[in-house]
Point group: C2
Chain length 215, copies 2
DNA sequence: AGCAAATATTGCGCGCACGCAAGTTTGCGT
DNA sequence: ACGCAAACTTGCGTGCGCGCAATATTTGCT
């Protein structure tokens, strides 16, 4: 029921998708990101170059997808998995943290931080939680179709994006100005404090939803 | 002092930038967006095609830029212009509304809604307020360098994006499901209710800033 | 006024994204 | 079991984004 698409077909599609992104990552790691043409990836996955672009709409997307995998749906699932009595804000924060606390290879991390285009592609993946997350929040607040859930979901995505950005930012030059930028703590901490900013908005939305359901 | 760059040079740059985006819009309107090649725009503005890409990094960007113009900086300026005693949330909401309440040509609107790529490019412009806005909020909260301002700014941008998305969305098919989607009211209303969701977060941030400054 | 450094423009070339119109594979009804 | 329709893959062609190196223009300095 969850997978509407029949069977063998979808299976094959997922297989080539995985093959593509893993080939992409492997090649990028062993040759450096700039020495990998899209044709190489396609060939390594046993598919025509044209087909590659039926799965990924940019060269970087495949590489990055190998890292982020199925994060989007996992986050949404993690939110709905939390018991209903937990505060929405907490459920979200925990769900996010849970997904972004995978031990990442040092090699992969270096790969992403090095190339600017890859870095951007990686940051863009944060946006992809937006839709599934909106659905999850929507369901949790009851009342579906409200723009509230969409705005909240979009804000979460934005907050995650900012946190990742701080995390990935090079130490930079600390010379002249009185700007004291925190030297970017651990990712969980960054995520937590970024999401903390939004907490009041979640509480308010949740309270409003409760009032509505009691009427 | 505000414009560090000297004079004649920057002047010319701005001139060609304007020439490019206006040419882009004009051509897109009179031929339809798909019948305008980047070479045409460049020629109409009297520069080489290569130069075009020194100013805009995609074909759509120039067209859209003709509509959004200098919105980013205007929003930031509008925020800082509000007297300090006004609630941050109100200052922001008003500043945004003020900028998005220009009477837009019907032709232009149709142009954007018609082409999916243009629509996306237009939505992306909402993100561009992020940096100037972050600076403005940062200043208003005192204490610069905090991620709080960045998260708030990013959330505002996201909210605006959602509002625009709702506004531009085609009426769609309303046949089967019980989903009753509001037929997208006026843009100001949509913006207001989108930003209202974030209001509690702003209030909390502001209050926290005040407490900090009183210590 | 003149010259050297900084900055912008241009042509060239490569790789990439994607529409389109075949060709191929899978699924479903009878 | 068979065949038709829907879904997926592939090759081709076009326009685009951008790095690079040469060229032209502006600026600050003396």
């Amino acid at each position: 029921m969850t997978t509407r698409r029949t069977g063998l077909r979808e299976q094959k599609k997922q297989a080539t998708r995985v093959a593509l992104r893993e080939a992409a990552l492997r090649l990028a790691l062993q040759r450096g990101p700039d020495n990998v043409r899209v044709d190489d990836i396609a060939e390594a996955a046993g598919v025509s170059p044209r087909t590659y672009n039926n799965y990924f709409s940019s060269r970087e997307q495949a590489i990055v997808a190998a890292v982020t995998a199925e994060r989007e749906s996992r986050v949404a699932a993690a939110v709905t998995a939390r018991p209903a009595h937990v505060r929405l804000a907490d459920a979200l924060t925990e769900a996010i943290l849970e997904q972004y606390t995978e031990p990442r290879d040092r090699d992969v991390l270096l790969l992403i931080t090095t190339s600017p285009t890859l870095r951007d592609a990686y940051l863009d993946t944060a946006t992809m939680v937006e839709h599934p997350l909106a659905a999850a929040i929507d369901q949790r607040l009851g009342e579906s179709g409200t723009p509230t859930a969409r705005v909240l979901a979009a804000s979460v995505a934005a907050a995650v994006r900012v946190a990742l950005q701080q995390w990935l930012q090079p130490p930079a030059v600390p010379p002249a100005t009185g700007r004291l930028v925190v030297p970017s703590g651990s990712l969980p901490d960054l995520l937590r404090s970024a999401l903390a900013v939004l907490t009041p908005a979640f509480d308010a939305a949740e309270e409003q939803a409760q009032q509505r359901s009691q009427r």
